[in-house]
Amino acid sequence: MNRQTWLTPANLTSSGRPSLLPDEIERRLLSSVDIDLESSSTPVLKSGLLSLTSHRLIWIDNKASSAFSIHLSSVVKVFPLKKNLFHSPRVTVQVSGGQRSSDVVAVIVIRGKNNDVDEFYGKLVKVWRERFWEITEERESARIDNGGGEGTSRPWAPPVVGVTGILRKEQETWENTDKSLQDSFQDLNALMSKAKEMVSLAERMRQTLLSGSNPQNTGNDEEMGSKQEMQDWLLSVGIASPVTRESAGALYHQQLSRELADFVRVPLESSGGMKNLIDIYCQYNRARGTELISPDDLLRACALWEKFDVPVMLRKFESGVMVIQSKTHSDDEVFSRISDLAVKTYALKKGISPSDAAITLEIAPALAKEQLLAAESKGILCRDISPEGFRFYINLFKDIDVQDMYRIQEHSQLHLWDSATSSMWQ
């Protein structure tokens, strides 16, 4: 059995997310999935994540080190969903082997308990029937033919112009307010009482989560699975899911965390290795367009980075400002650049302001100020607060010997300063 013919190795990004083709969109994500062949009983791919995209089915192993995909165009048939009391639910598909070999029947075994199998199956059939990859192929060839982009297609709404338009808008507003709000509030009340039930149930679940795992059951897959489930449920109802030391929060946040690590690489490079968290929030959401993430989502995803092996980290300064910085960015390197700047002649005379540092270090002024403050707490700089604002000077106190205060050693920074500033009085 040569799995190379029907499974294509798929590329992963440096953070363990699948590299998507142009226009490919991820539709669903399942956890704990095996892929078998109907003809044999041993699984080909065991216990990984399965991502259904508009173009492919991608299986990623749990350590995010390798991935395989089946392009949906090679799926000849999707068999009806089989659910069994004794087995995990299975989705069976027939994959064409192309001209070289015969067709192969692959079985996708969905083991994870928190996966909504019916929904996935429905989505798989829908996506497979949609054949989205053909549309993108057409678009590609059309683009090449037309020799240039035609711009994205947007739904065209009839322009609302003139007096008729205004009147129509007014009427709409009236209708909306006039509509029996009674009904709406009644429905709202009913919904909220149900939500209240959910919350009390969820609170009890949360207590179990926070009390930690049962020592007798540690290492038991089932126990871990149910904890993961509970995290996901709490998240869908709208209750903050606790990230404990063992669990990594909801599956959604784990994937988001990896996605963000990828996204953030390019902006970081252009801003000197460090970027404000709020700037990333705006940039990422703008890039997303729809289905934006909440600030909570962003924070959780960034907090998860320390559990994964990604090249970025979240850092909190004393003032409360939070930044994302690449791990290769070292503070020591920045400090040495700052001290080099601080011993230049004009800096010895007038000191450096945050904007000077921002220009030299090529980072945002707000972050430059943070770095200068950090350098100060390390003892490299001294601050000077004057009507002109904050300025920083190189710390000369280190060079002053308490026993012999007026002695200036040769080749010390104190000497440099002395020669730079004494020239001012000439």
């Binding site: 808008k169 709202l188 709208g238 903050a240 959604y252 404000n276 993430i293």
Partner: protein, 248 residues
């Protein structure tokens, strides 16, 4: 249960423990199943609600804020995550997260004018201008909710009250009570003089000059020394009324 002596006693005790554990696990499993069921019912109920009222929430700000209040009472946060049912079925997430992004934009743009402090009223006006193409109206309540979510990103986004008005701070400046009182005073004429501050708030001259100096350094005020009477006026762009909002 009576304790039996000897090995048989130990064996039955062990057996009893096992039985209890099995029951415990069973109960936990039942709880999980129950939760799953409840979740499914809740989701379908929310779907029904969404089908009927999704538009109401989008178009009617009163209904929207009522919705939020009730969620808060129950203990759920519909804006907690994009992945929650609320965002998925009611589409309420995108509205607020997008609003958050717009608020950050506006604060950045106006920062050089007002030093990072903008009145909630002006902020809302600017947001509505941006939203002109959209059909939904944005209320101050909406802005407040979006900002409360932005707060956790740690860049100093906060809402402070100065007298009866609310201001949105977008830089991590510390404003103490003295500064607050000066800002309140400034709302009358958009500017204050040292003498006015001393007189109306009964402060010593040192205290007044100190506070005004800090506000100047932080960029929240601008000093005007050009009057014939020689008295400096401290102007506060952030407290100016909507006439200061620039129409594009």
């Amino acid at each position: 249960m009576r304790r039996k002596p000897g090995i048989s006693g130990l064996k039955s005790a062990a057996a009893a423990r096992d039985q209890f554990r099995a029951v415990g696990e069973n109960v936990a499993r039942v709880k999980a199943d129950l939760m799953k069921e409840q979740l499914a019912t809740f989701r379908s109920q929310l779907e029904d609600f969404a089908r009927k009222h999704k538009n109401d929430i989008k178009k009617n700000p009163t209904f929207r804020s009522q919705f939020h209040e009730m969620c808060a009472k129950v203990g759920v946060d519909p804006l907690a995550s994009n992945k929650g049912f609320w965002a998925e079925l009611l589409g309420i997430g995108d509205f607020y997260y997008e609003l958050g992004v717009q608020i950050v934009d506006i604060c950045m743009l106006t920062r050089s004018d007002n030093g990072g402090l903008i009145s909630l009223h002006n902020l809302r006006l600017l947001v509505c201008q941006k939203h002109k193409t959209g059909r939904e109206s944005v209320t101050e309540d909406d802005c407040l909710r979006a900002i409360s979510k932005l707060k956790i990103l740690g860049s100093g986004f906060e809402v402070i009250s100065v007298g009866k008005k609310k201001f949105v701070r977008s830089v991590p400046t510390e404003l103490n009570k003295d500064h607050n009182e000066i800002l309140e005073l400034a709302q009358i004429q958009s500017y204050v003089t040292v003498e006015q501050v001393e007189r109306k708030l009964s402060w010593s001259s040192g205290r007044a000059t100190d506070a005004l100096k800090t506000l100047l350094e932080e960029g929240l005020s601008m000093i005007d020394n050009g009057h014939v009477d020689g008295i400096s006026r401290h102007w506060f762009p952030c407290v100016s009324t909507s006439s200061a909002v620039v129409e594009e």
